[in-house]
Symmetry: C2
Subunit: 141 residues, 2 copies
DNA sequence: GATTTTTAATTAGCGAGAGTAATGACGTAA
DNA sequence: TTACGTCATTACTCTCGCTAATTAAAAATC
């Protein structure tokens, strides 16, 4: 890693932290906490999951996840079912209503970011657009 | 904005949100809450600020900010002084100790991100490095 | 097969950190 | 001087995370 690589890393970290803070304030669903939204996002990605899996992915303890799931179920946003092979486990999946909320949230945040990006020069935006797939992969490593 | 622009925006948003979550788990100072760290970061950027300004920037209510500042002062990380022209106000600035904590946090997160980025191909990393200044500007618009 | 250990989810209780309502001090305008 | 707005703070409440403990089920061991 060269010196200019390190500069780029620093700029990237700073940009990521700052942009995410600003994106977070583009509110959509006021009745859902950030963690609830995040859980729905995780469920959207992997279809269904057990409370333990969700707790690990969201970096919370299992009892906290139990409560979050209960709240989401109460709001009609997730379903809980027994695991087909293991009666200790529960399988959580999200409802169509939750999918709609996620779509709307995504749409709004994308619109905000697109508006922000329109203030870049053509060259700047071209570089960002060129790097987007690599950034996507970086985030999913 | 073309269709492929919108795809890039979506990838960028997703990457930013995901990377920031992961960066947040590279803990440094366990005795400081995320908001406390963020307040120190804000003070680092603008030198000093009133509680009201800090509350607005951090998107919390003034009483919450009063408490956060009190805790930071107790930990020796900020100083509170009367405003020179307005006796209603307080001016908050950070100590040298806080600056050291911020530096260490930044260093650790940069190291983590650099390690992650080393898993990209040369082409991918080149694109990200090329886009870093534009991303930085985007984040500060 | 019986027993022990491990795994998974849940309940109960606690505390940190956010919000709201109210208050007091200060500054400015009338 | 009075009225109003600004600023920070105090007091109280609530949300949402954690830990400790419990129960049920599955897996491992004897």
């Amino acid at each position: 890693m060269s010196e200019e690589d390190l500069v780029a890393v620093n700029q990237l970290r700073s940009s990521v932290m700052r942009l995410s803070r600003r994106l977070k304030h583009q509110h959509v669903e006021q009745s859902l906490s950030p963690t609830e939204m995040s859980v729905l996002g995780t469920l959207a990605r992997c279809g269904s999951a057990t409370p333990g899996e969700l707790a690990r992915r969201e970096h919370v303890q299992p009892p906290s996840m139990t409560r979050i799931i209960a709240m989401l179920e109460e709001k009609g946003l997730v379903r809980r079912e027994s695991h087909p092979q293991d009666r200790r486990q529960v399988v959580v999946s999200m409802t169509e209503q939750a999918a709609e909320i996620l779509d709307e949230s995504r749409r709004r945040r994308n619109a905000w970011l697109a508006e922000l990006a329109s203030q870049l020069t053509d060259e700047e935006w071209a570089a960002v657009r060129e790097a987007a797939p690599a950034l996507y992969r970086l985030a999913h490593l």
